[in-house]
């Protein structure tokens, strides 16, 4: 079912974030319309993950204001969390739970039917290890499971932080399917990635460097704009 709303998906104004004395983001102004698929590129330490974590409300900005899906970044945190899904390189899995138990737990706390967990495990090709503890999983398998968890829900805004890192070709296609499926449903996707081979999925590419945003970079020839 396509999503239609009036507010932009992301609307940040002069957002800054520092960790101690070190600035990570400097007065970022960034707008993403509903239904867009925006790829954020840039070197390590550019502030890409920090930007995504601020949008997901995992951390707060030290300065600036903004709204996500029409809700204020601070006052509307719970509303934003209800409508967004952050998939990051930290998979947020419990090592001593099995793959299926991890997904069932995630389903319960997200208010989703836990019965969907089996199908999600199958979808990412982990049905054969569904009853095994995550502790024995490789990083790629963990990331697949994190993707399965994201697939349990149908958030309005997907935030993917380096979703292709450490994945084999088959698993990368899973991420692509997630992105394309979200696009088809009119959902908004924000992807932080170093993987230049996936940028064809983007409707817009922006570039970050030293905590600043350089945008919009055109999709065609965007690689030339890379720092």
């Amino acid at each position: 079912m396509a999503i239609r709303h009036t507010h932009p998906a992301v609307n940040l104004r002069a957002i800054s974030r520092a960790f101690g004395a070190a600035p990570a983001l400097s007065r970022i102004t960034f707008r993403v319309e509903r239904g867009e698929t925006v790829f954020v590129r840039g070197p390590n330490g550019a502030g890409k993950s920090t930007l995504l974590r601020i949008i997901a409300t995992a951390i707060s900005p030290t300065a600036g204001t903004g709204e996500v899906l029409g809700f204020d970044l601070l006052a509307g945190r719970e509303e934003i969390r209800r409508r967004t899904e952050l998939v990051s390189h930290r998979t947020r899995l419990y090592e001593d739970l099995t793959a299926l138990e991890n997904l069932r737990f995630a389903a319960v706390i997200h208010g989703v039917n836990p019965g969907c967990a089996s199908a999600a495990v199958e979808e990412v090709g982990l049905a054969h290890v569904a009853g095994e503890r995550v502790r024995g999983f490789s990083q790629g398998m963990r990331q697949r499971l994190a993707l399965a968890r994201a697939m349990l829900r149908a958030p309005e805004l997907f935030l993917l932080d380096e979703p292709y890192a450490g994945l084999d070709g088959q698993a990368k296609e899973l991420v692509d399917r997630l992105v394309v499926g979200a696009q088809r449903d009119g959902r908004t996707v924000l992807v932080v990635t170093h993987d230049a081979t996936r940028t064809h999925l983007a409707t817009r590419i922006v570039v970050m460097r030293a905590g600043r945003l350089y945008s919009p970079a055109p999709v065609v020839g965007a690689e030339a704009a890379q720092p």
């Binding site: 997901a56 409300t57 995992a58 951390i59 707060s60 719970e78 969390r81 209800r82 967004t84 952050l86 990051s88 930290r90 998979t91 947020r92 899995l93 419990y94 090592e95 001593d96 739970l97 138990e101 737990f105 995630a106 319960v108 706390i109 997200h110 208010g111 503890r133 963990r142």
Partner: protein, 224 residues
């Protein structure tokens, strides 16, 4: 209903992780036993002194066991950013607190059975004079320790101060629980269980206040 389901899911998850990790059995119980044996040896052969101090020794063993158990309960949340998953989930953070506190309470009560039996065996004291009141003391005292520990235990994973914050906040706040629990246990052991009522009342009031505080404040402590 959702609150209860979410709390049960968190408690179930924590207990499952505990059973598989065997933290309580492999770390906490041996630590508590060693502590009790060391206390017993330090008092020498004076049985009357040991009998007088047995309730305090029992609760000190429970207290130190609880500190280790809180740490264990939050260790799994620190692995691979799981705590951030709870923060970002649209779950009632009060339910997360109740679930975590419930799981730690269940672990500690199981440990306390062993600690009470060991205290009786090592120090030659019997605490079975008024079993219902002893059980009530153990439960109320444990919930008091757990409500404070589960509330501030999250800081060991979430805050920058980490190691320092937990003892600085938890040790002073749990002192009233320890005093009331020790006094109630001593009165029950001495054969005056009726006099323990006021201490049990104090424990119940403390538990109610800190459980309510936990439900209300836990979400704020989780935030960045």
């Amino acid at each position: 209903m959702t609150f209860a389901l979410q709390a049960l899911a968190v408690a179930g998850k924590d207990l499952r992780i505990e059973v598989r990790g065997r933290h309580a059995l492999g770390v906490v119980l041996p630590f508590a036993c060693t502590q009790l044996i060391a206390f017993g040896l330090s008092f020498g052969p004076d049985r009357s002194l040991v009998a007088q101090t047995a309730p305090a020794l029992l609760w000190l063993a429970v207290f130190f066991a609880s500190v280790l158990t809180f740490r264990g309960a939050y260790e799994a949340e620190g692995e691979d950013g799981a705590l951030e998953g709870l923060l970002l989930a649209p779950v009632d953070k009060g339910a997360v607190f109740i679930g975590k506190a419930g799981a730690v309470t269940a672990q500690l009560l199981s440990l306390e059975v062993a600690i009470v039996l060991l205290t009786g065996a090592l120090f030659g004291v019997t605490m079975t004079g008024d079993v219902p009141r002893l059980v009530a003391t153990l439960m109320l005292g444990t919930v008091g320790l757990v409500s404070v520990g589960s509330l501030f235990g999250v800081l060991t994973e979430a805050a920058r101060a980490r190691e320092a914050v937990f003892p600085l906040l938890v040790l002073p706040l749990t002192t009233p629980v320890l005093i009331a629990s020790i006094r109630a246990t001593a009165l029950i052991q001495a054969g005056n269980p009726a006099d323990a009522g006021s201490w049990l009342g104090l424990l119940a009031a403390f538990d109610a206040v800190f459980l309510l505080a936990g439900v209300t404040l836990f979400g704020h402590l989780l935030e960045d």
